[in-house]
Symmetry: C2
Subunit: 100 residues, 2 copies
DNA sequence: ATAATTTTTGACAAAATTAGTCAAAATTTT
DNA sequence: AAAATTTTGACTAATTTTGTCAAAAATTAT
């Protein structure tokens, strides 16, 4: 299961880009990119979209991964993360059926 | 599928408490409680625990519901919320197997 | 109907969280 | 060991979230 951090690091290395170069292409401070690649900071949605554009990744897929990182992080320290997800799933289903 | 907001409203009404009274018991501003009951504001974890205590609900269950509200809300506007949950689930599993 | 009570709203200031930047420290490569 | 690259930490700025208050709206009682 790949994280956003791993993906953007892999993509940069694939291209043999040093951080300075990635920073120029993405127009994001290289220290920030370093933090993103280490998973220490969470990029904004706009930044995720930049990564998708520059690294030619599917925008939506990348967003899903980025969001799931966020979710996983938020609940990982709870006592029953799986249960929380199950309940959330039902709520989503319910919202879906409602807005139809 | 019940939300945190619905639960705390139901519990208060069950007791025939007006907001002012609930505010006194919970030591939370009544305007805030009103917003919680309408789902317009998200209580802190400490506040959730207060609700559980005062309304005699199972602390952990209430926290799970409160967390799942949060998750559902965060991803409900995404294009594929279900997919995001699936990925998150896998990540959680992975984290679990790792920290064992 | 209107008076009294209760709930909801909106605006605001304070508090907390998150974001971006820089330079120095640490690490890796040459 | 010098040069290049990456990581870290500290700081300020920006954004988001919080709690509070008083007034507005809605509900209930007289």
């Amino acid at each position: 299961m790949e994280t956003f951090a791993e993906i953007i690091k892999r993509e940069r290395e694939k291209r043999n880009w040093i951080l300075r170069r990635a920073a120029a292409r993405l127009d994001i401070d290289q220290a920030l990119i370093s933090k993103f690649e280490k998973g220490e900071r969470r990029p904004s949605r706009e930044q995720v979209e930049k990564f998708a554009r520059v690294y030619k990744l599917k925008r939506e897929e990348l967003i899903n991964i980025w969001m799931s990182d966020k979710i996983a992080y938020e609940i990982s320290s709870e006592s029953n993360p799986e249960k929380i997800l199950k309940i959330a799933e039902k709520k989503i289903e319910y919202l879906n059926s409602k807005n139809k």
